[in-house]
């Protein structure tokens, strides 16, 4: 099958959606499908010597030009728009002759929306975020609707994301979670210096929604009960600011590992006695929980809708009331003192994550592709959107 995937965010910037698309594309290629990913990327030629310039793209990625940073939705987003991007989208669609195209985040004012406008035929779309309905979205509704109604199949990454999608845009979607390479995490080698009464946290330090402040508030109480505990924090951000206001004795028990590689992330998750996800909101899935469970780490997470769903309503990992540092501390102390319960969570987590493995998730996504391509022509550029075509002047 010839599959075209559209990534709305810069390929050069690491992010959840980009990783998901990379893994999906590689999984599909392994299965023998032809895959092309259209993504914003710097296409300045690399300087001689390989230093500077753009990082080389994988062979299956086609650049749609550089993304422009613009203020959007309360933060600076790097988006692709304008005639140049639209022309590249058309050319990619025209040359690709895809059986199906898979657009990620079709409602974001970037490549996703441009491809929706420009294409016709079987279109699959995945909605990753569950943004609350913004005024811009309401104003853009008449523009968005004709583009979104071309989508033949909608995928939401969680039941929660599906609910918001149905509320905001109407219609329905199937739920297919994000995939994880379970084996990669399960096979990682634990590291000695990260073992022995350790709690793990992975995420941006300076992003309050990732919830590190909640964990920091709980830490003194955890150390009171179990003084030998250590907290390992992986992620970028200002480390000084993170431990501000903590007594020196507590600070000593916190170790910052900075940005870690994929391998180190897997080894960290394999090593810790407890993985804590204190996120306070803005999560529509929670891939990190799946990765932690794949690595066999017992998980303690805030009771966000998305997290509760990934953890099977608390059966595959424990939940605490969102932003409640006391409850987090109590649960962490209880779990650290109870190896039998941790072993039980490990076992349940490992069994539970099988459904998030790429073999299952990829199969589901392929099933969607096959369902929409049944009885439909292949993807083509939609000539009806141009003025010339409307007067019957377009050449075929």
């Amino acid at each position: 099958m010839k599959i075209g995937i559209v990534c709305p965010y810069s390929w050069d910037v690491p992010g959840g959606v980009q990783f998901h698309i990379r893994d999906l594309a590689e999984h599909l290629i392994r299965l023998g499908h032809e895959v092309s990913v259209l993504a914003p990327a710097d296409d300045a030629p690399p300087k001689p010597g390989g230093l500077g310039g753009a990082p080389t793209l994988p062979p299956y990625v086609v650049s749609a030009g550089r993304a422009v940073p613009v203020p959007y939705n309360g933060s600076v987003a790097r988006l692709n728009f304008g005639f140049l991007s639209a022309a590249r989208v058309r050319r990619w669609l025209h040359e690709g002759r895809f059986d199906v195209i898979h657009i990620h985040e079709p409602a974001s004012p970037s490549l996703g929306l441009l491809s929706c406008w420009a294409a016709q035929g079987p279109i699959v779309a995945t909605f990753h975020t569950s943004n609350p309905r913004s005024r811009a979205m309401i104003a853009a509704y008449p523009i968005l609707q004709p583009a979104l109604e071309k989508i033949s199949a909608r995928i939401a990454v969680s039941e929660y994301a599906r609910r918001t999608l149905v509320e905001h845009l109407g219609g329905d979607a199937v739920v297919i979670p994000n995939g994880v390479d379970v084996e990669f995490f399960a096979r990682a080698e634990p590291r000695k210096q990260w073992q022995g009464g350790t709690i793990g946290f992975i995420g941006r330090i300076d992003e309050p929604r990732k919830g590190l402040p909640v964990l920091m508030r709980a830490l003194p109480r955890i150390l009171e009960e179990r003084p030998e505990t250590r907290l390992l924090v992986a992620g970028r951000g200002d480390t000084e600011e993170a431990v501000e206001g903590l007594p020196a004795a507590v600070r000593e028990r916190v170790e910052f590992l900075g940005m870690v590689s994929d391998d180190d992330k897997a080894r960290l998750l394999r090593s810790v006695d407890l993985y804590v996800a204190p996120n306070t909101g803005g999560e529509s899935f929670g891939i990190i929980l799946v990765e932690a469970m794949s690595a066999g780490a017992p998980v303690l997470a805030s009771d966000l809708d998305a997290f509760a769903q990934v953890l099977d309503q608390g059966a595959a990992g424990e939940l605490f009331v969102n932003e409640d540092a006391d409850e987090l501390a109590a649960a962490a102390v209880r779990l650290l003192a109870d190896p039998a319960r941790r072993a039980e969570l490990r076992a349940r987590g490992s069994a539970h994550v099988r459904r998030f493995d790429w073999s299952v998730v990829g199969g589901d996504i392929l099933a969607v592709y096959e369902t929409v391509t049944d009885g439909a022509a292949s993807v083509a550029t939609d000539e009806r959107t141009t003025l010339r075509a409307r007067f019957g002047l377009a050449r075929d």
Binding site: E149, R154, A173, D357, V372, A376
Partner: protein, 183 residues
């Protein structure tokens, strides 16, 4: 003179808008047709696999008859009876595969693994195809209810699209094994 120009501009704009909306509707109807064809294919596939299993002699006689009856009824149902017949097939499948042992037993028979695999795929894809179909129907209905579309009869003679309502809950024993996710 300028008034005439303005009137012409306005008329052209209205004509463009109507033509664009008609194109949009046309596309939506095409999408419904494709989704309906896909749904039909999946339903037919499910009924065929169920019928095959029923006649293969791998199930006990009572289960075989129940499954055969409902699969046959689903395949030969008149269009207005289809939703009921397909729902009954879903119920029959759930009743037959209520016990996880049944699936295990079928797998042991020669060619059983492939048959169960095919059935699992079919019961997973029916709800998918149905959801996509009903989503297309909803989008088309939203546009067709629009005043402009009704006044200018932009939908032509295309019948008002109807959703396909049925019980498509798959047997838990089949989906749980593959770790398939909730739909």
């Amino acid at each position: 003179m300028t008034t005439i120009i303005w009137i012409v501009v306005a008329l052209v704009a209205v004509a463009l808008y109507l033509s664009w909306t008609a194109g949009r509707l046309d596309r939506l109807h095409a999408r419904i047709d494709a989704a309906r064809a896909a749904l039909d294919a999946q339903l037919l596939r499910r009924a065929s696999v169920a019928q095959e299993l029923a006649t293969a002699g791998v199930l006990d006689p009572a289960a075989s008859i129940v499954l055969y009856e409902s699969a046959h009824a689903a395949r030969s149902a008149e269009p207005d009876q289809r939703e009921v017949a397909e729902s009954e097939l879903s119920q029959a499948l759930r009743a037959v595969f209520d016990d996880p042992e049944t699936a295990a037993q079928v797998r042991e028979a020669p060619g059983g693994t492939a048959a169960v695999g095919e059935l699992t795929q079919a019961v997973r894809r029916v709800p998918m195809a149905r959801r996509f179909h009903n989503d297309a129907v909803r989008a088309a209905r939203a546009v067709r209810r629009h005043r402009v579309v009704r006044w200018f009869r932009l939908a032509g003679h295309a019948p008002f699209p109807l959703a396909f309502e049925m019980d498509d809950e798959p047997p838990p024993a089949l989906t749980a094994e593959r770790g398939a996710t909730a739909l």
